[in-house]
């Protein structure tokens, strides 16, 4: 037979578990006895007084704050380095023809050519195999005259 679920009051009164007085009494006796025994065991336990070395709260708190502050500083430094880059970026580029140019914000500016100096050789110069540096002469072979960069 399907129970009448509409009458939830009757259902609860009939089917909700209810302990008998005898059951309560017996359980109470057993638990009280166990509690007494535990209490007694705890009281007779040979316990040496435990010495605690109290750590002052301020010490660990100060240490923690110091570490947190240090970590924050490092994080800010690293973050700034990653996020912020100077807008005025300058790069010096050497091209394959050995000329130099400078890039400033995407615009390329060429440097004036740097003159190259070579030991002077030719039919009218006497070539010396040994000690050529000692008696050699340098001449400018570049079309651009050497001038100061400014």
């Amino acid at each position: 037979m399907k129970p009448d679920l509409n009458d939830i009051d009757a259902l609860l009164e009939q089917h909700l578990p209810s302990a008998s007085a005898q059951q309560v009494e017996n359980a109470g006796l057993r638990v009280l006895r166990r509690l007494r025994m535990r209490d007694q065991a705890a009281a007779t336990e040979p316990g040496e007084p435990i010495e605690f070395e109290p750590v002052p709260v301020a010490t660990w708190r100060r240490t923690a704050v110091t570490w947190i502050a240090a970590a924050a500083v490092v994080a800010i430094g690293v973050g700034t380095a990653i996020m912020w880059r100077p807008a005025n970026r300058v790069g010096v580029v050497a091209t394959v023809d050995t000329s130099l140019s400078r890039q400033v914000d995407g615009r390329t500016r060429r440097f004036p050519r740097v003159p190259t100096w070579k030991p002077a050789t030719g039919p009218h110069h006497r070539r010396r195999r040994r000690g050529s540096h000692a008696g050699g002469r340098l001449e400018c072979r570049n079309a651009v005259p050497l001038r100061a960069l400014g």
């Binding site: 679920l5 259902l11 059951q23 109470g28 006796l29 009280l32 007694q40």
Partner: protein
């Protein structure tokens, strides 16, 4: 023999105040735990656990309302047991270990009772507190309100909603074949 008359031997001395507290409230705690768990051993565990904790030290707000505190503790602990029992249901293919012999009449074979306990396990602790006080301990709304520190109106509304929810949960759990 009454529990109050159980003599304590020299080695079994609990503080008088603690023992008086136990004698005064053990029935409320045990009955509550038994109504929620439906099991004698679990109810006894709840009773022992609660008073063992008290033996280690009273909580700061205990003195304000000892009865209310013990009752709430009993409901919460019993609900924990009820819910963990459901979680530990054996998986398919595994055999259930033989349960300890329980001579309680009206065993848990009663499907309606099982459905009712399952439904209680799904209620909020506050709702269970009110439900058990009303149906097991026969408290009036005013008495429940006083014990739980709330208004009569709140109790009446909670009880009404709890009944409706229980009805829904139980009818969902009761198989159609029973009709």
């Amino acid at each position: 023999m009454s529990i109050a008359a159980v003599p304590s031997s020299a080695g079994e001395a609990l503080a008088n105040e603690f023992e008086a507290l136990f004698l005064e409230h053990h029935e409320l705690v045990y009955r509550t735990a038994y109504s929620v768990t439906g099991n004698r051993a679990d109810a006894e565990d709840v009773l022992q656990t609660i008073f063992l904790r008290l033996l280690r030290g009273l909580p700061p707000d205990f003195d304000r309302n000892p009865k209310g505190y013990l009752y709430r503790a009993a409901v919460n602990l019993s609900l924990n047991i009820l819910r963990s029992r459901k979680r530990q249901a054996p998986a398919d293919g595994l055999e259930r270990l033989p349960a300890p012999v329980d001579t309680t009449p009206a065993p848990a074979d009663d499907p309606l009772r099982r459905a009712l306990l399952d439904a209680i396990g799904q209620l909020k602790p506050r709702a269970v507190e009110i439900l058990i006080l009303h149906y097991e301990h026969d408290y009036s709304d005013a008495q429940i309100a006083r014990m739980l520190g709330t208004s009569r109106g709140t109790i009446a509304v909670t009880l009404y909603r709890t009944r409706a929810r229980l009805k829904k949960l139980v009818s969902r759990a009761i198989p159609e074949t029973q009709s």
